[in-house]
């Protein structure tokens, strides 16, 4: 007997969401697993969740640009540290 119906077994939201950490870690941006794509097609809630998590990951990249600046006292202390400890003269390059 052969199986005529090759549709994937439907996943619950819990089962789908359990796969998300690995899915995002794979990082390809496209979902190839038929069970997962089928669930995404039919579940508005999980597709919104995936879009939001992707959006957050994308937006995080803009945080790489720094927004904060240390106070002037930090550089002063570094200079004091450099002056106080002669061992802080950098190790000569081995190149």
């Amino acid at each position: 007997m052969t199986l005529k119906n090759s549709s994937p077994i439907p996943l619950s939201c819990a089962e789908f969401q359990e796969q998300l950490p690995d899915l995002f870690a794979a990082g390809s941006g496209a979902i190839h697993d038929p069970q997962l794509t089928e669930h995404l097609k039919t579940c508005e809630n999980c597709s919104a969740l995936v879009r939001d998590l992707q959006y957050i990951a994308d937006q995080a990249k803009q945080l790489l640009q720094p927004t904060h600046e240390p106070s002037d006292s930090v550089w002063k202390k570094i200079q004091e540290g450099l002056a106080a400890d002669s061992s802080l003269v950098p190790e000569p390059s081995k190149n």
Partner: protein, 219 residues
Amino acid sequence: MEVQGLQMTEAKTAPGLFKRNPPIAGEAEAIERAKAGDAEAFSKLYALHKRRVYTLCLRMLGNVSEAEDMTQEAFLHLFRKIGSFRGESAFSTWLHRLTVNLVLMHLRKKGLQLVSLEETINPSEEDSPKRDFGSRDTQLAGSVDRVALERAVASLPPGYRMVFVLHDVEGFEHNEIAGMLECSTGNSKSQLHKARLKLRELLRRSESTAQAEVKEAAL
């Protein structure tokens, strides 16, 4: 401060990290001069990188005073070790790895055991992101601004914030994070996922508060 156990070897870096951290004009020359002990070159390197190093420390520690102390330590350590920088990765990537290692050592000294994230810096039930089965809330509007995101990241529980900053902001891979935090890659993936879920929750909450304020103002 005697710094022990820091691994300052340059990890083999994917070309993408150079794309993410492109060289800065004048940086290469300053590095070479700094290696020869030129104090002015140190000053230039500090000026070029102080904001990113400090921002990284601040995000990881959530405390201005500690972040300034660690920025100071990171640059002092940089000036000691700059001779070992061979240019196999972007300088900023190397400097950030050095900074992250120093911050993690600092946290360990404070008693925060990073060996097992699940057992030690995992947030309480109250802080955990809510599972999202079947709720009918709308998705994020797609217009989350930088300030809102920064605020939400700052309010994450420390374990989540650490992995989120290292992976999504700084661009470290899960295996690198696992090495730094002495946890499994699976643990790193799981913490990152929970961090993003928690951020979603926080951002949706702040969006709905803002919408309520606009409605109230319109009345």
